[in-house]
């Protein structure tokens, strides 16, 4: 497997916000594997962080194992399948835990997984946690929320501008661990050197406008940890009504998977 630690620079930040007493978000990032996972848990008592914790721990550990076992011999479709499969496994684990232990009944979590592989980015998501791409000083939302609000926007009932005033921001239509089955939305995107990817929980994008996120990344792209801290701080300065988590990943150079004999020879002579 390719070690991507010289290719991808990752920084993370998470904060309970100004209102909530505990943090139900879970995050994990591993530059060497080229993997970032973010989950925003829900459910009473502490069940939310249990659900998001299970999802992040399982997916990051097992995807890493599966990728190492495949030794870089995976095509894009296989990687997409892998991401979907591991989301399903996490779903089963959380659903079973919720069934078997009364205090976990009804727990669930959103999920966004980003996996960099062979010059592309595989993104899997469930719920309303997002992935954005910052390229050429423009911020673009890559994932589409699985939420009531997004469906209202899609159906033309309300505009994106009006959506900021909706009372129904918090209703997701898909989540991990709620039902025995879940469908993960998985897509691949070509990656360019210089891209910055932002994974976040809704505690960020509900409190900070896309324009302010874009300005922050444009101004502070030279210092990724500062940019992440600044995004969290802005969410909190605007009220911090929810837990807020941010993963920022910068692609430093291209990262083709070495597979052909010629490539192997080249690397041997390097």
């Amino acid at each position: 497997m390719n070690d991507l630690s010289n290719v991808i620079e990752i920084t993370t930040a998470t904060h309970p916000g100004m209102v909530r007493s505990h943090n139900e978000d879970s995050i994990s990032a591993d530059a060497a594997t080229g993997l970032a996972v973010l989950a925003d848990g829900m459910g009473g008592y502490n069940a939310g962080e249990v659900a998001s914790g299970i999802a992040v721990a399982m997916i990051s550990a097992e995807l890493k194992k599966a990728l190492a076992a495949a030794n870089g011999e995976l095509d894009a479709a296989a990687v997409e399948r892998l991401v979907g499969e591991h989301a399903v496994r996490a779903n089963n684990a959380i659903f079973q835990a919720a069934q078997n232990q009364a205090q976990y009944a009804g727990m669930g979590t959103t999920l966004v997984v980003a996996l960099w592989h062979d010059n592309s980015l595989v993104v899997g998501h469930i719920g309303d946690s997002r992935l954005y791409r910052f390229r050429d000083n423009k911020l673009e939302q890559v994932t589409r929320d699985h939420s009531l609000l997004q469906e209202q926007i899609d159906s033309g009932l309300i505009t994106k501008a009006q959506a900021r005033h909706s009372q129904n921001k918090n209703l997701v239509t898909r989540a991990v661990g709620i039902d025995p089955e879940v469908e993960t939305e998985v897509h691949s995107y070509p990656v360019q050197a210089g891209d910055i990817y932002l994974l976040c929980s809704d505690g960020l994008n509900d409190m900070v406008t896309d324009e302010d996120m874009e300005l922050t990344l444009a101004s502070l792209q030279a210092n990724l940890p500062l940019a992440a801290a600044q995004l969290v701080q802005q969410a909190n300065d605007n009220g911090g009504r929810d837990n807020v988590s941010v993963i920022l990943a910068r692609v430093l150079k291209s990262f083709p998977a070495r597979s052909g004999l010629v490539d192997r020879l080249k690397s041997w002579f390097r």
Binding site: Q99, A105, Q162, L171, T209, D237, N238
Partner: protein, 269 residues
């Protein structure tokens, strides 16, 4: 539950609770809110209520529908919006949060489930806490919501169980912009070729310096203005003293030294 207060020339006529998923307003008797006035179209406007949101739509009326003085076709109603239809006014009042109930519980992320999937779920343990009360009104099925693109997808309108109908609607909350409350500040260049130039700090973030050499950022926050080092081996110097990696609050007339250029921070007005 949200309601409308119908009034004419300042005197209240009646109150209408938005207890139905779709409420029509117009001159004909078939409307839930009938206004017998020639300036009002037969079917003038309608209000579709989905959970805590109410959407007002003009039905192609002859004389139009105004909200807070502006003509609209479609509008998501906010607390205290005033709808004008002819000489009549309808004030939209969202339900006040019940005492002792913070917004916090309500705002937590919740799942909307399709009934079919929910039914397929294995039976829950007996000692499970009572499920949240079902909505007292039948699940909304607004006609104006076309089915979502993918048929496999649960239609949002068929929401069941997991949505607490008893939860209070929080007051409308657009993200606050407390930073705007800060007085305008600026930096004036004191040395170098651009000496004398002034830069207003109109954005929440303003970067200063030379990219690749030394850059700092001034952030505008509810607590005031702060300067933070972004890149470069050297850190900014404030009033002759080098700052560390932490954000440093800026006081009126502080002198900043950055990439060999001196500048002064000052509050305008």
């Amino acid at each position: 539950m949200a309601k409308l207060i119908l009034s004419l020339e300042g005197s209240m006529i009646r109150e209408v609770a938005l207890d139905k998923e779709r409420i029509m307003i117009g001159r004909k008797p078939s409307n839930e809110i009938q206004i017998e006035n020639l300036a009002v179209s037969g079917e003038h406007a309608c209000i579709v209520t989905i959970l805590n949101d109410s959407f007002l739509e003009d039905m192609g009326s002859t004389n139009g529908t105004l909200v807070n003085g502006n003509p609209i076709k479609k509008h998501i109603l906010q607390n205290n919006d005033v709808i004008e239809i002819g000489k009549y006014k309808l004030k939209y009042v969202a339900e006040a949060p019940a005492a002792g109930h913070g917004n916090e519980d309500f705002e937590k992320t919740m799942i909307l489930r399709a009934p079919s999937k929910a039914a397929a779920a294995a039976p829950k343990p007996a000692n499970e806490p009572a499920p949240p009360p079902k909505p007292s009104t039948p699940p909304p099925t607004p006609r104006s919501v076309p089915p979502p693109a993918k048929p496999a997808e649960p239609a949002p309108a068929s929401a069941s169980a997991s949505v607490p109908a008893s939860a209070p609607a929080p007051a409308a909350v657009a993200p606050a912009k407390p930073a705007d409350a800060q007085p305008l500040a600026a930096v004036q260049i004191l040395s170098g070729p651009s000496a004398g130039k002034e830069l207003d700090l109109v954005k929440n973030l303003t970067t200063l310096g030379k990219p690749g050499l030394q850059v700092a950022v001034i952030t505008r926050r509810p607590q005031g203005y702060f300067i933070t080092h972004v890149e470069g081996a050297k850190f900014p110097i404030i009033n002759g003293k080098m700052i560390d990696a932490q954000a440093q609050p800026l006081q009126d007339h502080d002198v900043i030294e950055l990439a060999g250029v001196k500048m002064e921070f000052f509050v305008k007005q």
